[in-house]
Symmetry: none
Amino acid sequence: MPGFKGQAVYSVDAKGRAAIPAKMRTVLRPEAEQTFTVTRGLEQCIFAYPLDKWRDMEEEIAKLSAYDREARTFVRLTMMWAEEVKLDNQGRIGLPKVLVEYAGIQDKVLILGVYDRVEIWNPQTYEDYQSREAQDYETLAARVMRG
Amino acid sequence: MPGFKGQAVYSVDAKGRAAIPAKMRTVLRPEAEQTFTVTRGLEQCIFAYPLDKWRDMEEEIAKLSAYDREARTFVRLTMMWAEEVKLDNQGRIGLPKVLVEYAGIQDKVLILGVYDRVEIWNPQTYEDYQSREAQDYETLAARVMRG
DNA sequence: CTAATGGTGGGGAAAAGTGGGGAAAATTTC
DNA sequence: GAAATTTTCCCCACTTTTCCCCACCATTAG
């Protein structure tokens, strides 16, 4: 199964909806049922995981003990920001308000395909992130891929 | 079966009732019979477990020895705060007074989906908790998920 | 040139959250 | 023990939000 790839800048309409690029929709497997689980991303963006992938992640969470303080905090922070959203007939998702606020999204979004997830950014936020964290791609590649 | 997820700020009416978000109600299995067992949370909040999940927890409790002093205390503290509450036709639960008092709840509640339970907070209490326990989520995730 | 595909906008029906009234049950008071 | 008061619970009604569907425009392919 191929991964999500590519990038696009789309509009967010008055109802908080944004289209998912058709290229990325075709990657969704039938088990994903045209549904993403969106959650707070590790940088200031939204992560959208296909439903089947998210289910695997929940299985990992199920193994954690509710009586361990750190694990409890981790599960709380992971789940409280998550929400299942189904694509409408036009291939759009409704972005939850709390996540729109977190990511500082207004009328335009930058949508990235990142292998096992789709990322949704405020375009300006992504530019700031890029210039701040800018590293030489070649150097980065060498460091990461060496292992 | 998916876990509880998401967050919402809802009103508590004059009768001490608060709605459970529809997104979380849909997660309830038929065995839960639209019923939660609410109890004192480990942080200053209310934990609400679906009835079927709570039954599993009681089975665990049943295995503890009544002749072990610490176990006896644990069972006492666990059970004395617990109460079964059924949702009304509008999807609300009546919050037991002792728990409202424990959690410092007034006219608004923050409701969190946390995988196998729903948590009910005074929004302000949660903010205090957050700023007090603030950790880098990324670091926490790495520590917890490593095992 | 026509048809098909992809992104955008909006209207209307349905669902969700909130408030409150009234019957039944429990508690208190006389 | 009966009446009165309080509490609890169930149901109805209103308002807002959400969701589903249809329509439109632009671009691409045949």
